[in-house]
Symmetry: C2
Subunit: 253 residues, 2 copies
Amino acid sequence: MLEHLVRRLDSFSALSEPEIQTVRAMFTGSRRVPAGDDIVCEGEVSASVSLILEGLACRYKTMSDGRRQIMGFLLPGDLVDLHGYMAGEMDHSVGALTPCKLSAVPHQKLHDALEQHPGLVRTLWAESLAEGSVAREWLVGLGRRSAYSRIAHLLCEVVARMKAIGLTDGSVCDLPVTQQELADSLGLSLVHVNRVLQRLRASGLVSLGRGALQVHDWDGLQQAGEFDPSYLKINVIKRLSKSISGSGNLPRD
Amino acid sequence: MLEHLVRRLDSFSALSEPEIQTVRAMFTGSRRVPAGDDIVCEGEVSASVSLILEGLACRYKTMSDGRRQIMGFLLPGDLVDLHGYMAGEMDHSVGALTPCKLSAVPHQKLHDALEQHPGLVRTLWAESLAEGSVAREWLVGLGRRSAYSRIAHLLCEVVARMKAIGLTDGSVCDLPVTQQELADSLGLSLVHVNRVLQRLRASGLVSLGRGALQVHDWDGLQQAGEFDPSYLKINVIKRLSKSISGSGNLPRD
DNA sequence: CGGTTGTTTGACGCAGTTCAAGCGGAGTGG
DNA sequence: CCACTCCGCTTGAACTGCGTCAAACAACCG
């Protein structure tokens, strides 16, 4: 959702009220993409930056032999193709895992907004850095963690991020992801993901099925995945605490 | 080197002459770090951004059991801890693989420079995005490539980047990296790296030893690693071709 | 010349892959 | 309402790429 983006950006660099208004006004319209379709394709030069309003998507690359690697999940409030604005051509694709609702801002309009509020450039830069931080954590997982630990870690990440945007209270959440998609995220085979998922359930940590994830033992799951949420840069403490008065939008906790 | 940084940043967004001068003037002093030492540590809050002038370094994270994952190599002209400037605390360490010579710019000074030349913010943002692009390519390697292909790919990357800064003509280059360090980069064991390296030599593609890398068959190596250099964002075509007159520093090719 | 650090080799084991087949639920059309 | 079909999940058996352990070797350095 738009408000999730605003809150996230604000957590990076304490936006001013006009900046917040600008971000809110930037994104207009909404488009729907059915599950399985691509939102942007590798090599594409798009003319706008998209924002996920609803649904679940993923970044991925396909190799010559057809196998693919998923490199990150996109949740409501995430920006899809900021890369496209800065670098031109996309170097990876983004696909909808579930039906998605998107909003978008034309590059030109974004450009104008950034001219008018130069501070927002730094904010978006911070957003890109946060994405890099997640990619690095995934590198550690793929390189050095066992399948068991890797899956646990990924599930922790998804839950933590969903919690941050109010999509779960921490015990149950919608997660209509196939085991093949998990396998493509984790660099594993479908068959092995299936077996490890059963082990995780047998251990009483989580169960995943019928499009839903149930966390039975959050602490145990975190331990199994050696999960430390700081790399997600959620709720970063602001260094300059510009007071944002009268926003009327204070977070609950 | 400083000029490599300037050239690279310029390739992202066509710097103006004053911007170039500012970048050149920003970095002062030089410090030496012996091989094996850390340049910055995870969790550290440094007060300046470092630049590699000479030597080879790597980003890495260490896991609780002591195993580590290297997440990227740093060559002369690369910025070490731009993250630190934006995000505060480092979420990973950077270690010197060989003796390194560094220059640095205090955060405050960088801040002032960016205030004075707001365009540079976008340039550094682009630099961060390029780093993210490399991380994503590594993800594909760790997730979906065989050990053989992974090593070939990594060697291609190093050669391509060294070529870009004049550290090799493409056939031989200094690469004083241990097989353990390669293993930590590729998510493999030391022993396996050793054996695959022998296979690569037997195939007549490359040989690595005594601190040097010899490429015997570049095309073959690229094929083995399915290497496509575009993700490195070297020599990106500038979208706005501001003419930079009389720099007297034109690249040879 | 001895110690230290990096490389090489061999034997063995296992985590994870591949192949192949069966199962179950959800949607669709007759 | 039943059959048919698709898609995703599950299971078993065989295989293998890569890891682990352990020891020998080579190169470098003070």
